[in-house]
């Protein structure tokens, strides 16, 4: 354990300010993307689950349910795409 700590301390001494900024940028970008993907994942799971339940209860309305479900998935996914674009801009621009 102490060897690991020593190695970490040695590595930290060699790091420049630019390296810290790069690490911070990558961490923040990863957090932005990861956190932005969690919400839509939960939303899509809930949405599709409820849609399947609705189709099971009323099979004659399956077409309408699938239509609204598809649009709902696409709208929910837009949140993840916004997070993804923020990630791209933080990481590469």
């Amino acid at each position: 354990m102490s060897i690991l700590a020593q190695a970490a301390a040695t590595a930290a001494e060699g790091l420049q300010k630019a390296d810290y900024q790069a690490i911070n940028g990558a961490t923040n970008a990863g957090l932005a993307y990861g956190l932005a993907a969690i919400g839509p994942g939960i939303g899509i799971g809930y949405l599709v689950g409820q849609s399947v339940q609705a189709m099971a209860r009323q099979p004659e309305a399956a077409g309408m349910v699938r239509t609204t479900m598809f649009l709902g998935i696409a709208f929910t996914e837009a949140l993840a795409l916004i997070g993804f674009v923020v990630f791209i801009l933080l990481k590469f621009v």
Partner: protein, 143 residues
């Protein structure tokens, strides 16, 4: 306990995606022109690439959901969630591969992805909400 059966009826996802592709073809020249004027040739090319990503994303989502619904609702649930993850990964890959290319401008590319995705969806939603609210407006099937 009954065995899961396929969802009956025609696949509305395919029709929605077809509509979205038609609408994307309408807005593509306008977006490419506007972003080209702001960011130059690189902006125009990046906008076209972003639009292609958005349309492919919709097409893949529609194809996956239609296919899985024709098999079973349980599979559709799995495909919807894992398809979401796979499509996000594919979009990431599509941008990762070209991020250092000379013709790529990331700002217009990112803006295009968000604007085109939301814009096409709202446009399609207007049409669909009208046809769901007023079913009589739907063309009747041939007898």
């Amino acid at each position: 306990m009954t065995s899961p059966s396929a969802v009956e009826g025609p696949a509305p996802e395919t029709m929605i995606v077809r509509d979205i592709v038609k609408r994307a073809a309408i807005i593509a020249p306008v977006l490419v022109l506007v972003f080209g004027l702001i960011w130059g040739v690189d902006g125009a090319l990046s906008t076209a690439y972003g639009l292609a990503i958005v349309v492919c994303n919709f097409a893949l989502a529609g194809a996956l959901l239609s296919w899985s619904a024709s098999i079973s609702p349980g599979l559709m649930m799995g495909v919807a969630l894992f398809g979401y993850l796979i499509r996000l990964a594919l979009i990431f890959l599509a941008i990762w591969l070209v991020r250092d290319a000379s013709w790529v401008a990331l700002v217009p590319l990112g803006i295009t992805i968000i604007v085109a995705h939301l814009g096409l969806l709202f446009w399609e939603m207007r049409y669909i909400s009208a046809s769901l609210a007023f079913p009589a407006l739907k063309p009747s099937p041939p007898k």
